[in-house]
Amino acid sequence: MKKYYPFYFVVPALVPYIGIYIAAVLFGFGLALTDWNVYSMSPSQFVGLGNFKMLFQNWQFGLALRHTAIFTLVTAVLKTVFALLLALMLNAKFPGRNFFRAAFFVPCVVSTLVVGYIFNFLYQADGGLVNQALTWIGLGSLAQDWLGDPRFALFSVSMIDVWQWTGFSIVIILAGLQSVPKELIEAAKIDGAGAFRTFQNVTFQFVRPSVNICIILSLIGGFKVFDVVMATTQGGPGFDTEVLGTMIFKSTNGGSLGYSGALALVQFLIITVITLPTLTALRQKEVEL
């Protein structure tokens, strides 16, 4: 059968991928070992691990790392949990189901830049919709300067990400839910299992791979976050929402291509180190189908 899956099937994808993407990534890694700065008058030199040393001594790096980790954890957990609950609900048969299914995915198709713009309005301290809504339901005392207050800025930005991308996770989990065999559900009912037990022992086992995909994608997306922070707070107030992505961006604009390349490489390593073991751990729990 092997010849029915020929190598030339893979070639069209490999050519642009390696020629452009991998080439650029490797070039970037190479830059990380130099001290190339656009504003420097002397030619760039190879500095080996010098950039990395500078990086780990930089207090901004530790701060950005912490913010990124918090952001990732919060958004990954919330997105997956909300998506699971909503997907289960949207899997049931009821009139208007297709409308609701379509609605939840709408925020995903809008550019993150635009979403950031919109939430700049919504989060405004006086007159922003969020504060208006709180007042309307009687919780006006909780109104804040969501993006300008150091205590809430990171949280507010995380919520934007959850708002926008939960729909995406819903789609993935919904697809996974289709693979749950109806016979097993019926069997569980006949055995007298309640809703939660059925879910736990039957449904969840089949939907696990989808949930795992959601978790992994959320982790990766969280660590790479840049757009939504840049569109709203740009890392501020001060440095309270500085994440790895914004730090890389700003460092590139400061002209330090070597330094920012090193930062990007470190970000890549962090993501790999975190997602690979997580993936393995999650996979082990997957039932063999």
Binding site: Y5, P6, F9, V10, Y21, V25
Partner: protein, 277 residues
Amino acid sequence: MNGLSVKPVAKYAGFYAVLIVMTVIVLVPFVLVLLNSVKDLAESSVVSLTWPKKFIWSNYSKVFSAADIWGSLKNGILESVVSVAAVVLFSSMASFAIIRRDTGGYKFLFNLFVIGLIAPFAIVPAMKVLQFWHISGTYIGIIAVFVSTNIPFSVFLYAGFIKGIPRELDESAVLDGARPLTLFFRVVFPLLQPVIATSTVLVFMNCWNDFTFNLYFMPNAGMWNMPLTIFSFMSMYSTSWNLVCADIILTILPILIVYLLAQKYIIAGMTSGAVKG
């Protein structure tokens, strides 16, 4: 059914209430932008959900006249359609071969693609690479960038789905005398409809909404796509919130239309229930 109560769910008002509240949270921001886009300057400064006193449709014509909308629309469609076609075709073929072959070498290729989800793709290295291939500043160049950056996720997406397509189907097609390309296009490709629909929307969305690549890789504003064109024009008017909102609606509209057309397929794919194991 998925384990929830057997009684008709519609009887539970609570169920609907939750859904409606969630939907409101999801859609209200867009309604807000829409309403604000037709208000006059003074009214729009108070960004709230009130009904406009007058409908100022001229906000839209202002945005239209100031920026080269039609040109950027053409650019966006060109880049997005070609990129989507290439990504769908290349990724599905590659993913199929990789999953079916399942040997060491092919597993390595799969991991290579998946690394693309994480690896950093920086602007200046990318510019240099494009120059190396002499496609810097051309439509081909930016399409190549879109294709190469969207392949990893598509390969990943298709892989999961293809695993659920039984090899028996392949074997019976071969017995009927199919050759590799026929096997793929007549048997497998049609079965991939749901994920193709999903990845079409996602890739189209990435290309259409792109801001960064257009800004850095396209030399002049005449070759920019719509979001960038409108954004650049609008950055001067950021306190005229009615114009900004009209700007946002115009940017969102095309992709919303694509999504609304495609979601039937995505949902149909869901309910047909992928190939069951």
